[in-house]
Subunit: 550 residues, 2 copies
């Protein structure tokens, strides 16, 4: 006899997304959720709207595990989909609408969603999409501008089941969400990655619940001045298609915080919302931070201690200082699409030694200390565990309960990601004696511009198609506004020495117009060189290039 | 093909207790752990000591699931056992050494531990124990006073494998803890409950990890003034045998806080430790709080914002005010042995409306709002979900990821605990519109004296043995110092009307001397009545008695 047998009626609590609502259903019923300047309602109504959206989805004859894709700005609708879709045992695909149209369609074709929630403003991204040959059976039309789907889709509109708000409002507001296996997949999205096609990552209910708890705990235990406390007002400034906006919409809902969803990121509207709604905590890439500083400075104002976690690109000390001067309590979080994303955070304590302004700024720009449950190690090239200290840089490898377990339908990349039981970040770092992770080298070749990743390989491939080009390398060089911008290093063929930068640029612009690369993928500068530095095995030596041209 | 298949080398992260150490192993290596005024060492040494204790246990030829019982004051040794025992796939039994010797032995005989970690100060509790007929094969001797086990055990000492510190120090300080199923049982202990024999509850690794995360998040998101922040110094003042000292030793270790373990609770030593080590957060029952206020007031001093969560008995408004006046940031947590224990906490916010002192004190004494993931409902007697509001009191029923799934080897009590998929607390409460739980009636019959539970039924059984007693009921009546004290209501036989209170008391004292009940189980007062109020089915109506005699 197993003496530890459960009572017949005991509840074996699964870590599913619906459980995130338990506390808020009792403690946050009158708390508010706000969409831009367009809509505001209470959590109590929010819970009903989740039920209503589930009832809309239930009419579509979907099967367990079917994918519901969303193309929207950061909105209350997106938040409702974060809950209603996975709670209905469906999978939410958050489509990165900043990719080139080409890539957007690639991610849809690869994931094979049955339903698409489409904001009218992104209709152009899919205007040439062959819906008849696609997996998409139903479209929910999301619109804030009075654009009708008939006007956009013409005779394709039989797929559109209606406008989101009309459908939701008309639906029954009760829904009995079933319990199911916590390892059921809840979300999927694509990372543009370093090379080639975007790669799909995915997360289970269990992973997202654990991420939410660890995020709440890790940010919660920071002093109230920097961390999350009950009473905070949350607004995302990392898009909701990017790694679930750092998982924060789940965490904030679980905690019952007032939440503000800003729609499209326009600097003046963002600052208005922050001021009016008393937003107290957010997260973004350095480019958005710069935008906010500029906007609020133009107004001759400051922020009032707005807490802001910077991720996606390195926070420079100059920018950190500017942010602090501007009333923003800025610091760093580290993570990647593959890690759901939270891995480390700047450390603050209610009991820390006095430090100079320079020391304070410096620690805010480091990669931070690992958050709860995260096992962070540094490995040598031969997979040996390295000790702490500056002299022991190696690859940062990770274990945590919320890491993608593979890339969707991509066994080769998956085997490269997970080796010897650890997720390999391809980031070079060392561990400081005090527990800080310090990333010294970026992911090999990727260029991060305004928080978006540009694959150098991809741009190189396009430029190399120009008849005058003998060899080409694209590297990221530091840029005040965008973090990094691509620089193209071009070796011209001997009979084409009269070619100028604009000639080469033209082929990149052509690629943009054909939707092959995003506009920000066009190199900002073209340099002509006699030859490119090579490694011992004859590959481009980008490390040397970066050192020479940074 | 399952497109969401894990990569061959992906790590399926189990929620086991060893994972609680991940962050601290990187970020808290130089943090301190302190035992009273006797010992201090760093987390780095603590990790080694866990390994050393595991190596000691590994020599004992134990099997997976064997039980290691601990009888100790709150010590670094206890903390080491919290980790090394379950991490070795053994089960930690935390023996409640405040029970009567009789009950202590009952819990040992019932759980059947193979190993006992025995503090010399508790040797008398087991001095008459028939070790030869028991499950205990090995004893580790814990001693701070130079008492040798030979002097206590005589010829029984062949079971004693040595003194803890000597054994640990001599052992290898490396140990490779294996991964295993997160549903493996990690701990067990006994609740003295309302009626009859103590009941065993038990918790899995997964449950304790989730409790730690939710506790860190729920306390972390309180403002730093009340909640847990990095930089806090933690000391338990709820014994470590009582529901893992609220799970706090796990949570504090996970977060890498400085920790102080006080040994035996002596008021002067406690206040000394709080002052010297700058203890900033603790938890206890009202009786301990009173003791601390008295001690610090005698010194003409105050505490410096010491954060204190009160549980186990109701915090009265008078005591809350006295604590606040004394520099203690006091508030309420609710839970029970069956719930691991955290269920609800007083709510504080960085952004709360101004309130009067009376309002502030009042909310600190309520049962609090449910913590993250906890589903709290109020049910009617016919198991119907009740709405919020004072007029809808009913039984508080619960779901959470960390509730005991049954009582050990007690199917009847287990079936009563878990009904219709919810754990039944037997506490009568209503939910306020703002999310506060308000418990209006205590657990049916139990008397809580100084944080310890006294079973009225048990005392009644003993008193009823007196030849003059016709009927007897024992109820709790409010007591300034102890929270509650037992009052015995006695109906004398018609031919024994000359019997006085002290006659009856004598039989209770006899029961104490025979170890059947604890000393504090002796009623403080004996009242003679003509008859006892009865319910419609003829049972004692204690509700009426309490109303009449409170």
């Amino acid at each position: 006899m197993d003496v530890y047998q459960s009572a017949p009626d005991a509840y074996d609590f699964p870590l599913t997304i619906k459980q995130l609502l338990n506390r808020s259903k009792v403690a946050a019923r009158h708390q508010e959720i706000i969409y831009s300047n367009k809509k505001r309602f209470t959590y109590e109504q929010f819970f009903k709207r989740i039920n209503q959206l589930a009832n809309v989805l239930a009419t579509l004859n979907l099967s367990v595990g079917d994918i519901v894709a969303v193309m929207d700005w950061d909105s209350h609708r997106y938040l409702e989909a974060y809950f209603a879709v996975p709670m209905s045992e469906l999978i939410l695909q958050t489509v990165n609408i900043r990719l080139s149209p080409d890539k957007v369609l690639f991610t849809i074709n690869h994931a094979q969603p049955k339903v698409l929630l489409l904001n009218s403003e992104f209709a152009s991204l899919v205007k040439d999409y062959q819906f008849d040959n696609s997996s998409i059976e139903h479209i929910l039309w999301l619109d804030d501008n009075g654009v009708s789907y008939e006007s956009v889709f013409g005779d394709q509109n039989r797929r559109v089941i209606g406008e989101y708000e009309a459908l939701v409002t008309a639906a029954e507001d009760e829904f009995d969400f079933p319990d199911f296996d916590e390892n059921t997949i809840a979300t999927t999205f694509y990372t543009s990655g370093t090379t080639g096609d975007p790669k799909g990552v995915f997360f289970s209910h269990r992973q997202l619940v654990l991420h939410s708890l660890a995020e709440a705990a890790s940010l919660g235990m920071l002093p109230s001045k920097q961390g999350v406390s009950y009473g905070d007002v949350y607004m995302p400034l990392t898009p909701m298609f990017h790694v679930h906006a750092w998982g924060f919409p789940f965490t904030a809902t679980m905690a019952g915080l007032k939440q503000v969803y800003p729609g499209r990121y326009a600097p003046d509207a963002l600052v208005d919302l922050i001021v009016t709604e008393k937003v107290s905590i957010t997260h973004c890439v350095p480019t958005i931070l710069q935008m906010l500083i500029k906007e609020v400075s133009n107004r001759g104002q400051k922020f009032n201690g707005l807490k802001m976690i910077i991720g996606g690109s390195r926070l420079t000390e100059g920018l950190a200082k500017a942010a602090l001067d501007c009333g923003i309590e800025v610091y760093t979080g580290y993570g990647m699409s593959e890690t759901a994303p939270l891995i480390s955070l700047t450390d603050f304590s209610i009991n820390e030694p006095k430090m100079s302004e320079a020391e304070d700024i410096s620690r805010r720009c480091l990669t931070g200390k690992p958050v709860l449950l995260v096992e962070a190690q540094i490995w040598s090239e031969v997979n040996q565990l390295l000790p702490t200290g500056k002299d022991h840089a190696g690859e940062l490898v990770l274990r945590a309960p919320w890491l993608t377990q593979s890339y969707l339908k991509n066994p080769d990349a998956s085997r490269k990601l997970w080796r010897d039981g650890y997720l390999h970040t391809e980031d070079i770092a060392y561990l400081r004696e005090d527990g800080y992770i310090n990333i010294t080298d970026r992911l090999k070749d990727v260029i991060k511009s305004g928080g978006e990743w540009i694959s150098s390989l991809e741009i190189e491939t396009i430029l190399s198609l120009h008849p005058a080009v003998a060899d080409v390398a694209v590297i990221g060089v530091p840029d005040k506004q965008w973090g990094e911008r691509p620089l193209a290093l071009v070796v011209l063929k001997s009979d084409c020495q009269n070619t100028i930068g604009d000639d080469i640029k033209a082929i990149a612009e052509q690629a943009v117009s054909r939707g092959l690369i995003p506009k920000y993928g066009i190199p900002s500068e073209f340099k002509f060189v006699k030859e490119l530095p090579k490694t011992s095995v004859g590959k481009h030596d980008k490390k040397v290039m970066r050192e020479r041209f940074a």
